[in-house]
Symmetry: C2
Subunit: 293 residues, 2 copies
Amino acid sequence: MALLSVLTPVLALLLCLVIGFVFLRSRETSRTPGKDKEASKLDFRPWVDQDLQDDTEITERDEDEWVDNDEEDDLPHVPYSPPRYCEETMLQRSKDFYTLMNQRRSVRFISPEPVPKEVIDNIILTAGTAPSGAHTEPWTFVVVSDPETKHQVRLIVEKEEEVNYRQRMGDKWVHDLAKFRTNWIKEYLDVAPYLILIFKQTYGILPNGKKETHYYNEISVSISCGILLASLQNAGLVTVTTTPLNCGPQLRILLKRPANEKLLMLLPVGYAAAAATVPDLKRKHLEDIMVHV
Amino acid sequence: MALLSVLTPVLALLLCLVIGFVFLRSRETSRTPGKDKEASKLDFRPWVDQDLQDDTEITERDEDEWVDNDEEDDLPHVPYSPPRYCEETMLQRSKDFYTLMNQRRSVRFISPEPVPKEVIDNIILTAGTAPSGAHTEPWTFVVVSDPETKHQVRLIVEKEEEVNYRQRMGDKWVHDLAKFRTNWIKEYLDVAPYLILIFKQTYGILPNGKKETHYYNEISVSISCGILLASLQNAGLVTVTTTPLNCGPQLRILLKRPANEKLLMLLPVGYAAAAATVPDLKRKHLEDIMVHV
């Protein structure tokens, strides 16, 4: 009993230590899981902007806030007869479209010459024909032609890109990009008559303020961007597909976009400059990209 | 002192309880972080297939295994003069392309009539003109025309889709899809003359066996898919963009694709069936998708 009495303060001390340890651990693990996940993601994907993540991944959802996408369950089905061509025409069309698209290149030298806004309107309309998860059409295309705003975009992008090149990207990635002769100076952001900033809506907001799920929003908006690139090429315009790292939140605020929208891509758009050059890259052959079973 | 002596067993018991609690907690948190992340992701994005994730997120990387994408740092730059049209022609072309693309719809009723393989070749070539992060071209298009393989694909997809509809997707999502009259019966997988399975290469494997980083591979392949959809529409063919949940690994093994490839999309391709119908959906207006600054 005397021994036990002697042990009591030791036990009390041990208890305090263990409780302290539990408290510290719980503080560590009670950081929002989103933040932890982001951090571990950054380790593996240094080139992925936090703002590029689907919001569905990183925000906590109040299930009650999410409503069904559309009340029109009983949408009528209508007959559909798309254009159809004879085999010869089909073959010729597929060849011609390939020839046109195969001339597309990412161009960093853009002419300041003006481009009719109506052409841009048609291109955005065309991008808006893309399919999307549950037909949510989760895209916003911000077209910037105002010189002052373009310059603000440039300042934001160049500031972050310099940090990216100097610190975030790592030697390997900078080395991988060297052949494109890219760096953080983005003159085209001032020069191009239009900047198209493509935002994905990570969720929708209905007129009654409720949120709706945007399934596969990043894939949907990227598909839409592919159709936009085809449309630009078809019109004789050029761009370079950029994903400015860590600029999303600043650009979103500059352009007054709501919090459910995240910047996915930034495209400077115009005619190619007369002196435009591109790296002499080749594309893979058909047998390197297609497998027939 | 007597009081303390009496307290000793209580303190000892408390100590045991606290230590037991710490032990249980540490077992819970010592599950691999990757698994935790996947699990928490599943909570927030029930429709995202584990196999759809960038491998760069979920695999551990041995940095030494990763090499630079291309040794040709000093790739020559060459002059580039893309097609250019007068304003009137440009406007007309952009309008015509919009009209064509605006007729595109996701079609679930596909005719069994044969389609020349050369058209499919041109369409895949066209998809391969998409831009990609650091020009890694991280795509593989598996074109399935063999009836037995198409049927195997159907069996895999229907089996998983039935589970998806019954268990994984949740009432809300099933409800959201009701207007499309979709369910787990996918007759078109047998009927369509071609299935195009689009795989993203989450990393590349060089001839020497080393791995190369595929930056933004999911976005790149999705852009490529957008150009593919434009090309199908241009040729007078139809498809429906599907992302079969949880079928990726089984389909990858069926089609003998390597572990660095993950299924992103499955497109059944052919002419529209004579009796094809589509839900009477509308697209958003220009002012609902475009903001001009």
